[in-house]
């Protein structure tokens, strides 16, 4: 992704050792921060509530004067620029933007020309063009004659963007541009910002609360609580330890399957202490279900179980298996083997232990090979000692019982590389194993047993 295509070496905004307190003598909200943003950069400002994100933006917009240090806009000290000149260099989209009286969208966007026309001035041709362009780029041209106060939240946010664009400042500051928007409009607004950043070379600095959206749309993130904690690419800034410290709550950071960007998630609903103290026996005892999975065959089931709050153990899985990351996050216990290794003797012992404690053993439609066929045999042993075994086979939906078994065996032989798969499955079926077609059915069975 050519995210930094338009970034130049020209410094658009520089904060130099800036400190600020709202009252003299009070604890400073901003402490000695130094930040440089080049022209054409797109920067997300992260930090908990009360960290001073809005204050930094107001300092950069010249609305507040730093107590110490200085703010440079395109090389000039804001304190020495007049308010008009400041507004021609930097535009601000505040979070609490409201309009009194029934102004139309076009009238509102025209007010963005104020720094160019002066307060006595009227709208000229150049101003009309800037307004028209701003309306077109934000797709608010169709709303131009609507009354602003009758628009939806997403539309209002686009109009506010149009207003700041009409200002034709090189730098746009946004205070939580996605606040109060639904997910679709959040993405829409951020995409618009990214396009303007790339196509127009607009320097964008936005305070963001949503870490996931920030990770996806901002090539550079600045983590901030009074002072700068981290400044860099999402990969450097979105570190679970850093975030946990700054936001004072445990979080998990990882890449979801099928994604390219980092995601930040709250800790799972399985107690984190239950998974962290390394007491395998105890955690094993908590699991009601043991899942045999691998190669992505267990994903849906694990999600369904976790969503329903059912504790389960998984494994063993090879480290790096496509089910492995999810199992680490969702399962009470995830037994593991080294990559590409078959199940070891100690692994088998651990599995037997888990199966002894579980009420239900679920076998997912995992490809079978010499490395894992032993797991099915262990499941058979478990079945002999009274555990119920469920064979998950999404393709065998309806039909007579005999049909179903035949189809299951057929599907097993398709994914069997050990030569013994069909044989073991037949033994399990003969001993009373049930065939279930979907993850939700498994959840129902477990719920029925509880």
């Amino acid at each position: 992704m050519a995210t930094n295509r338009k970034t130049s070496d020209v410094v658009a905004l520089a904060l130099e050792k800036v400190g600020f307190a709202y009252r003299t003598g009070a604890r400073p909200v901003v402490r000695d921060i130094t930040l440089r943003v080049n022209a054409g950069e797109m920067v997300g400002l992260l930090g908990p509530n009360g960290a001073g994100k809005s204050t930094v933006l107001k300092l950069a917009a010249g609305a507040l004067r730093p107590a110490t240090g200085r703010v440079l806009l395109q090389g000039s000290d804001v304190a020495k620029l007049g308010p008009g000149e400041t507004a021609r260099r930097v535009a601000m989209a505040p979070q609490d933007f409201s309009v009194r009286f029934a102004y139309t969208v076009r009238q509102i966007v025209e007010l963005g020309r104020t720094p160019h026309t002066g307060i006595w001035g009227s709208i000229g041709r150049a101003d009309q063009n800037a307004v028209q362009t701003a309306l077109e780029e934000t797709a608010t041209i169709g709303l131009a004659d609507f009354v602003f106060n009758e628009l939806s939240g997403g539309e209002r946010q686009r109009v506010l963007l149009a207003l700041t664009l009409a200002q034709e400042a090189g730098i746009v500051l946004l205070d939580e541009p996605t606040a109060h928007l639904d997910i679709r409009h959040q993405i829409e607004v951020l995409r618009l910002l990214r396009r303007l950043n790339r196509e127009r070379g607009l320097t964008v600095i936005a305070a963001m609360h949503d870490l996931n959206l920030a990770a996806r749309f901002f090539p550079r993130l600045v983590l901030f609580t009074g002072e700068i904690v981290a400044d860099g690419a999402p990969g450097e800034v979105l570190n679970s330890n850093l975030l946990a410290n700054v936001y004072e709550t445990p979080v998990r950071v990882g890449i979801l399957r099928g994604e390219t960007h980092l995601s930040v998630l709250p800790p799972g609903h399985v107690d984190s202490d239950g998974r962290c103290d390394g007491d395998e026996k105890r955690r094993c005892a908590e699991a009601k279900v043991h899942v045999i999975a691998g190669c992505g065959s267990g994903e849906l089931l694990m999600r369904s179980l976790a969503d329903s709050g059912i504790r389960f153990s998984v494994g063993p899985l090879n480290i790096g298996d496509s089910d492995y990351i999810l199992a680490e996050q969702l399962a009470t216990l995830c037994l593991t083997e080294p990559p590409y290794a078959g199940v070891s003797e100690t692994g088998l012992d651990a599995v037997r232990d888990c199966m002894r404690r579980a009420k239900l053993i679920v076998v997912c439609p995992v490809p079978l090979g010499p490395g894992n066929i032993a797991l099915l045999e262990a499941a058979f042993e478990g079945q002999q000692s009274g555990r119920e075994v469920v064979l998950l086979e999404p393709q065998s939906g309806e039909g007579a019982e005999g049909d179903r078994e035949a189809r299951l065996i057929e599907s097993v032989s398709r994914r069997d590389y050990s030569g013994r798969g069909a044989e073991v499955y037949r033994a399990l079926l003969a001993a009373g194993a049930r065939i279930l077609g979907g993850a939700m059915e498994v959840v129902e069975v477990v719920a029925g047993k509880a």
Binding site: G82, I119, A139, I187
Partner: protein, 386 residues
């Protein structure tokens, strides 16, 4: 979760289809929302129309009185005062004297009071972003009333005159300005006067000044207070006796109107809030002080020759906003004209309804303006956003 994100990313964003906003809403509200467009076509012509309306109102108001004069004569006499008209005189000279010396000063005074109060109302509503704001909000009325009470209580002052004005008018004028200055001073904190603080300081200062005024009234027998005079002054009434007074007030009101017109674009920016006005390069505190000073001057000038005439400053801006939209470049001149017409007509009724007894003007503005405004709200209520 990954699947979910994928799905959302796949939504066709309206940004890809710039016309999406133009499509009619399923609830059919597009028509209502496009009100601004519909009005734009005819609202250009409304100012000349209102000027004609004001002229007609002035002619009617001047024609009616103890000695009725034909409206046609009145119109001709009025127009003859302008250098461009020369109608042949076919009316008795006494009519001309009655009109020009006795009636017209008062009618012009009424027009000036209406214009001043209307514009002051528009300025305060725009600055404070508050549809309830009226010209008497920031202590003007109580300051003027206290000034007038002092004048009514002191016989020496009561008979004195300055620039052709009685001391009641002078002290009311000074009282109104001082009260606003006091409010502004108290609302200042670190070089800023936040709007909410201004409002609260206004309420507090008003309460204090009103208390003093009540004190004066309750001590009336010891002070020799002119109670009836004060009562009539408080209920409002045009007290213009000669052209000098009209001239002085005219100068103040014209200056105020010109400044208000120059402030019109800034008032539009204030509709986005003070913070946003600052981000758009406005020197917020300077402009705010200018707006308050301008409005206070207009109110003080009006109060000096009319006492407390309520309702004009509240209704006229709303009426014009319903008709013409919120932009102040059009709103301010329109409010001046609407206020002028309203007070000229109300004063006409005040003089004639129970002649020869004169009714208080404030009673008329409330009795005529109130029901009219309620009807307007009912008619335009769904479309009119404050």
């Amino acid at each position: 979760m990954d699947k979910m994100v994928e799905r959302v990313e796949g939504i066709d964003s309206p940004l890809a289809q710039p016309q999406v906003g133009a499509a009619p809403r399923p609830d059919g509200s597009a028509i209502g929302r496009q009100r601004g467009l519909l009005i734009r076509n005819w609202r250009v012509g409304i100012l000349p129309l209102m000027c004609v309306g004001l002229f007609v109102a002035i002619v009617l108001a001047a024609a009616v009185g103890a000695v009725p004069i034909s409206p046609l004569h009145t119109a001709a006499i009025l127009l003859n005062q302008l250098p461009i008209f020369h109608f042949a005189r076919h009316w008795p000279e006494s009519e001309e004297t009655i009109l020009l010396v006795l009636r017209l000063p008062r009618v012009m005074g009424a027009a000036l009071v209406g214009a001043a109060l209307g514009v002051a109302g528009a300025l305060f509503q725009g600055l404070l972003r508050n549809p309830l704001a009226d010209p008497f909000l920031l202590g003007t009325s109580s300051g003027a009333a206290l000034g007038a009470s002092i004048a009514f209580a002191a016989p020496a002052l009561y008979t004195a005159a300055w620039l052709g004005f009685g001391m009641v008018a002078v002290l009311a004028f000074v009282g109104a300005l001082l009260a606003v200055a006091l409010v502004y001073r108290f609302a200042m904190r670190g070089g800023q006067a936040p709007v909410v603080t201004l409002l609260l300081a206004g309420v507090a200062v008003s309460a204090i000044l009103t208390a003093f005024q009540t004190l004066i009234i309750s001590l009336n027998d010891r002070l020799g207070l002119h109670v009836v005079g004060l009562y009539l002054w408080l209920s409002g009434g045009i007290t213009v006796e000669n052209w000098t007074q009209v001239g002085v007030v005219l100068v103040i009101v014209v200056v105020g109107l010109v400044v208000a017109l120059m402030l019109a674009p800034a008032l539009d920016v204030f509709a986005l809030g003070e913070d946003m006005a600052g981000y758009l390069g406005l020197r917020v505190e300077r402009v705010k002080l200018l707006i308050v000073a301008c409005a206070a001057l207009l109110v003080a000038a009006a109060v000096a020759i009319s006492g407390l005439v309520g309702f004009v400053g509240l209704v006229a801006p709303h009426l014009c906003r319903i008709l013409l939209g919120p932009r102040h470049r059009l709103l301010i001149p329109a409010t001046a004209l609407a206020g002028a017409i309203f007070v000229v007509v109300a004063d006409l009724f005040a003089r004639t309804l129970a002649a020869p007894t004169e009714l208080p003007l404030g009673v008329l503005t409330a009795l005529v303006g109130g029901p009219f405004f309620l009807g307007l709200l009912r008619y335009a209520g769904q479309r009119y956003r404050w």
